[in-house]
Amino acid sequence: MKTWISGTGQAVETVGAWMLGVLWLLPVIFAFWSAFHPAEFSTSFELFAPLTLDNFARAWSYAPFPRYLMNTFVLVTLILGAQFILCTLAAYGFARFDFFGSNVVFALVLLQLMIMPEVLLVENYRTISSLGLLDTIPAMGLPYMASAFGIFLLRQSFKTIPKELVEAAQVEGVSAVGILWKVYVPLARSTYIAYGLVSVSYHWNNFLWPLVVTSSVNSRPLTVGLAIFGAPESGVDWSIITAATVMTMSPLLVAFILFQRQFVQSFMHSGIK
């Protein structure tokens, strides 16, 4: 009886997982299909339809994709670098030092986790505008740099580092900064990888804020560029749009496939700890 239930349960789970997987995969499959075939096959399926790279060439020449790609790359690198530095320092403060009001401040940081960034769209725009940074790459990155999630994650992983290791370093005369650099950071490596992957994929795909804050080719990231490229007023050519989409997502897709294990595993790991 019991095995029957667990067997059925497993079957239902497997079927559910496949259904979800296929559902999620369909647009990707369509994008690939349409991108590699001439326009007339984009909405009809024929197994032996001729393959072509022409769509890519056209998409590449119609819009400044190299520039968009470059902007996105600079953006995610800038954000990740700033996040690593800021979150590491903040997390170290929370994890290691007892200062007056540390719990209150940490609660405030956690509170920030519950605020959707979209809510602050107008206020952020005002701030960026008053800083004179509108339509620049830092403008897109600034609101995300002091990531509450990153601080929380790193603090948790710092907290699990045995006190003995810190004391061993202390006895050897390593300074507070040295302890952070030589003990905490190397030991939290898996958390850094997991967080880095999440951050890069989030900001690679981020759309609304960059759309609001950018207005020229000089700062537009891929997502915004793609949206403008695919807007109905420029005429809908699915082949070219999907080709552009494939170009946009492929770096991330390749990275995800390469880092799949770390992505899933280390994130679960650092979540459990």
Partner: protein, 352 residues
């Protein structure tokens, strides 16, 4: 000179008094063991010496210099931690020279010291490994190596062997002892294991609830326990502490006396000093026997009191038997009921 002197040290956290009025001296080149049950303050004392904690009051001197307010690195000490505190991301060699790097000691010198220490500890073939690839004993050696290469004369050890199995623990404690003597280190060694303390120490400080119970050589602690706590902590199995009732007073009237039926002292007698006798002594019930090979431990019940008897070889006594046990006056200790202090006069009439 690198003797360690603690003067009137006390430490409190909020309302908890962890240590009160600790005074002792650890002479240059000797091994001092801080012994006691968990929570007695032995580790806190060690951490105070290391500078990982600061005393609430009192002063600490190392090598004749007041170090009470100096950070650990300025105290010229090395420390071995209970869980080895090896950096999992560094190789054995990197772990050993970690401190030397931090102190900016020249590369050449680092290499030389690493080589010497590795040879001394038998780690030469393991230098490239990560701590995760080592056995418990090897990890312990790496931790020792880190403290040896520092080439400081004071070494502090916080229960270094508590994670090892019994056999390895015995080997390692001999190794630590011989290292300490060869390198003439002043060593303060924290443990809760009295066997470890007895075998390794020049001097033992037995601590209990934040105070020093007794400070002396292993022989002194065993033969002249200052309190019933020392008596029952040192020795395996521990000393029997008996409340003298009428039966005992009557049976041992030649060596015991005191006001009436409930004198204000307790009797301490070691299991190995009890003998099964035919005539004299008290009759006890055997509850269980444990055969250990060389000895047999017999757990007995006498009224409401437990008595353990240790006999050489195999004993014929079985659970449920009644046996008569006795002891000699010179093996008997008397402790004051209230203070626990040993009464030095054990002969007739200790209360003149």
């Amino acid at each position: 000179m690198s003797s360690i002197i603690l003067k009137n040290i006390s430490k409190r956290w909020g309302s908890t008094q962890a240590l009160s009025d600790i005074n002792f001296q650890c002479e240059d080149g000797t091994l001092l063991v801080l012994l006691g049950p968990s929570g007695c303050g032995k580790s806190t004392t060690l951490r105070l010496i290391a500078g990982l904690e600061t005393p609430t009051s009192g002063t600490i001197e190392i090598g004749g210099k007041d170090v009470s307010n100096l950070p650990p690195v300025k105290r010229n000490i090395s420390m071995v931690f209970q869980n080895y505190a090896l950096f999992p991301h560094l190789s054995v060699a990197e772990n050993i020279v970690f401190g030397l790097k931090a102190r900016n000691i020249p590369k050449q010198e680092q290499k030389k010291r690493l080589k010497d220490a590795a040879a001394l500890l038998g780690l030469s073939t393991l230098l490239e490994r990560k701590p995760a690839q080592l056995s418990g004993g090897q990890r312990q050696r790496v931790a020792l190596g880190r403290s040896i290469v520092a080439q400081v004369s004071v070494c502090l050890m916080d229960e270094p062997l508590s994670n090892l199995d019994a056999k390895l623990r015995q080997e390692m404690r001999q190794e630590i002892r011989s290292l300490q003597q060869r390198l003439k280190m002043t060593m303060v060694y924290v443990t809760h294991d009295q066997v470890e303390a007895m075998t390794i120490a020049d001097k033992i400080i037995l601590m209990n609830s934040g105070r020093i119970e007794q400070h002396g050589t292993p022989e002194e602690l065993y033969n002249q326990p200052a309190t019933d706590f020392t008596g029952s902590f040192i020795g395996n199995p521990p000393m029997n502490i008996l409340i003298p009732d009428e039966t005992i007073l009557k049976a041992f009237s030649s060596m015991l006396s005191g006001p009436d039926s409930s004198p204000p002292y307790r009797i301490g007698i070691r299991p190995e000093n009890l003998t099964i006798s035919g005539e004299s002594g008290i009759t006890v019930q055997v509850v269980a026997t444990e055969y250990l090979g060389a000895d047999t431990l017999i757990a007995c019940r006498f009224g409401r009191q437990d008595i353990t008897v240790a006999l050489k070889g195999k004993s014929a006594a079985r659970a449920g038997d009644s046996i008569r046990i006795s002891w000699k006056p010179e093996h008997m200790y008397l402790f004051h009921t209230d203070t626990g202090k040993r009464l030095l006069e054990t002969k007739k009439d200790p209360f003149p």
